[in-house]
């Protein structure tokens, strides 16, 4: 969207900017909470151990960390009975397929029970708050109201079927609900769980270079530098310097990827020149191992100025922190202080998971602000939502090229487009998980997942929950087959990560 608007020189109206910020913002909040409770927490929380918890002590624990109302002894006893019924019926359902009882689980039963209760609450909560996305985008996921030049969301204070005072008030209520859960449940849980796993501030560092395109424009200029979460680069964990992002320094290798470039495997290509010539040369499935000395992934290897970069909430929070973002700095200091760890703890599995929580709160606090600005515009009579001046291809240059950047919940997402005679002649997407999940490049440099796993303890190679902790901290959100080899290359086990 932004790539095409950039190529065609379009500036979107302010209302479209605000609606895009709101759609993206509520998506961050919902996505990060789902990631924490439903995708990542079970790497740290032992569901079965919750059965041994004393509901009274669980209530005391919950009340000591938050004034969230659902925290009575009876409430936790009820959650425990529900869980007990699951386990006794041999139907763990959504909690099946994990390493319950693994010695790497370190939470007391009461903390486990509290987390189970909030896991279930978060399921209901997320269904409700994402209605903001559905109201503005017509549905969720896959918003339908995007339009080159703005949005197709109708604004009409006098229509029941368009954005009006009623729908704005409804969204304000949902935004309050979103923020309250993050403040009173997610952040206290994050701190409580993290306090039992502080050694994970020493694992999962990764490449130490961080890239953030920035997000949430404060004005409606395309590819703006005026962003609520700033754009920038941190190299070598040096928080004293934020480097500018220069798009021409981004290039992708295919040395270890199942693609071919006209110039061979030694070169990296900028996305405007990018090629997607696939050629699978890996083993025929089913196979035991890939030959990682050769090509071994469908992901290309994006590099910035030749270096592998981590993207995502940690990258965004580090860039914001180092750029002097006031609220981010306050919350980073609060979290580090509560955990009693120094800033170096940020460069880790624990830091990545904490940064996601901090970002969720920062964005949740901003949703009411954008809603207020949208309401103010409408009150002033500004109902513009789309700039159609460059809609017709006859008004386009014969050839154009552009790029658009976005921060998806999982990290920096860039699209590069070339247009000729009104049609796309080249389009390259460099997505967050290509950065983070990148294979090695021509110099043999590891990608962020690969680097982050080095040194990760594995107590039981048949149940490598520790590997899942680090991989999940990046939020890959996918099925992933994890293979563990011993030093002689024998396969221990093949695990389907769910």
């Amino acid at each position: 969207m932004r790539g095409v608007e950039n190529a065609l020189g379009i500036t979107i109206p302010d209302n479209a900017r605000l609606i895009r910020n709101l759609i993206t913002g509520i998506q961050y909040v919902q996505d990060h909470v789902i990631h924490f409770y439903h995708l990542h927490a079970l790497d740290w929380v032992d569901i079965v151990s919750a059965l041994k918890a004393d509901p009274k002590k669980t209530a005391a624990l919950a009340q000591s960390i938050s004034d969230w109302p659902l925290s009575s002894t009876d409430y936790f006893r009820g959650v425990q009975s529900k869980l007990k019924a699951f386990v006794e019926a041999g139907q763990l359902g959504i909690f099946a397929n994990a390493y319950w009882g693994h010695p790497a689980y370190q939470l007391p039963p009461e903390a486990n029970l509290m987390a189970v209760a909030h896991y279930l609450e978060a399921l209901d909560w997320q269904r409700d708050v994402i209605k903001i996305h559905a109201i503005l985008g017509s549905k969720n996921p896959h918003a339908q109201t995007y339009l080159v030049g703005g949005m197709a969301t109708a604004i009409d204070p006098n229509s029941e079927n368009a954005l009006n005072a009623g729908s704005l008030a409804h969204m304000q209520k949902l935004a309050r609900k979103a923020k309250e859960f993050v403040e009173k449940v997610y952040i206290p849980d994050l701190l409580a769980v993290a306090s039992f796993y502080k050694e994970w501030a020493g694992y999962g560092e990764g490449v130490g270079n961080y890239l953030a395109y920035g997000e949430f424009p404060n004005d409606n200029i395309s590819n703006t530098d005026n962003l609520f979460l700033p754009r920038g680069i941190i190299m070598g964990k040096d928080l004293s310097k934020v480097h500018p992002v220069q798009q021409e320094k981004i290039a992708e290798y295919v040395t270890h990827s199942w693609y071919e470039y006209d110039e061979g495997d030694g070169v990296a290509k900028h996305p405007w020149e990018g090629q997607t010539n696939y050629r699978y040369t890996g083993p025929k499935p089913p196979y035991k191992f890939l030959d990682t000395s050769k090509k071994y992934s469908w992901l290309k290897a994006p590099r910035y100025d030749g270096m592998p970069m981590e993207v995502g909430p940690l990258a965004r929070m580090l860039v914001a922190y180092a750029s002097g973002h006031k609220r981010v700095r306050e919350l980073v200091h609060l979290v580090l202080g509560k955990l009693g760890v120094g800033p170096e703890a940020l460069f880790s599995t624990l830091g990545r998971t904490a940064a996601r929580g901090i970002e969720t709160l920062v964005v949740a606090e901003q949703l009411p602000v954008w809603l207020g600005q949208l309401a103010d515009n409408i009150k002033r009579g500004d109902l513009r939502i789309h700039d159609s001046s460059r809609w017709d291809p006859k008004d386009w240059p014969r050839e154009a090229k552009g790029y658009g950047w976005h921060e998806a919940p999982r990290g920096a997402l860039g699209h590069w487009v070339r247009i000729k005679d009104g049609k796309i002649v080249n389009y390259q997407c460099v997505v967050p998980s290509t950065w983070n999940g990148s294979p090695r490049d021509a110099k043999g440099q590891r990608g962020p997942y690969e680097a982050a796993l080095l040194g990760t303890p594995v107590r039981d190679p048949e149940k490598p929950v520790e590997i899942l902790r680090t991989i999940h901290s990046f939020d890959p959100c996918m099925a992933c087959a994890v293979h563990v080899l011993d030093a002689q290359g024998r396969e221990y086990v093949r695990i389907k990560v769910v």
């Binding site: 969207m1 469908w298 487009v417 390259q428 997505v431 796993l453 939020d475 890959p476």
Partner: protein
């Protein structure tokens, strides 16, 4: 995932494979492999740029 699947906006399920070498209770080396082809770039060639978002949103 990536080349394939992992797209934060649209949350398409993808496939990631990790191979890890473990020695002395620690990971000594690791490889991350995306095991599905995405191909959205191929799909977009020749299309109207005004439609690109609706395709790329799915990844």
């Amino acid at each position: 995932m990536p080349k394939i699947a992992i797209d934060p906006i649209t949350r398409i399920e993808g496939h990631l494979r990790i191979e890890a070498q473990v020695e002395g209770g620690k990971v000594r080396d690791a490889w991350a492999a995306g095991t599905m082809f995405r191909g959205i770039e191929k799909i977009l060639i020749g299309r109207d740029p005004r439609d690109a978002w609706a395709f790329t949103q799915r990844i």
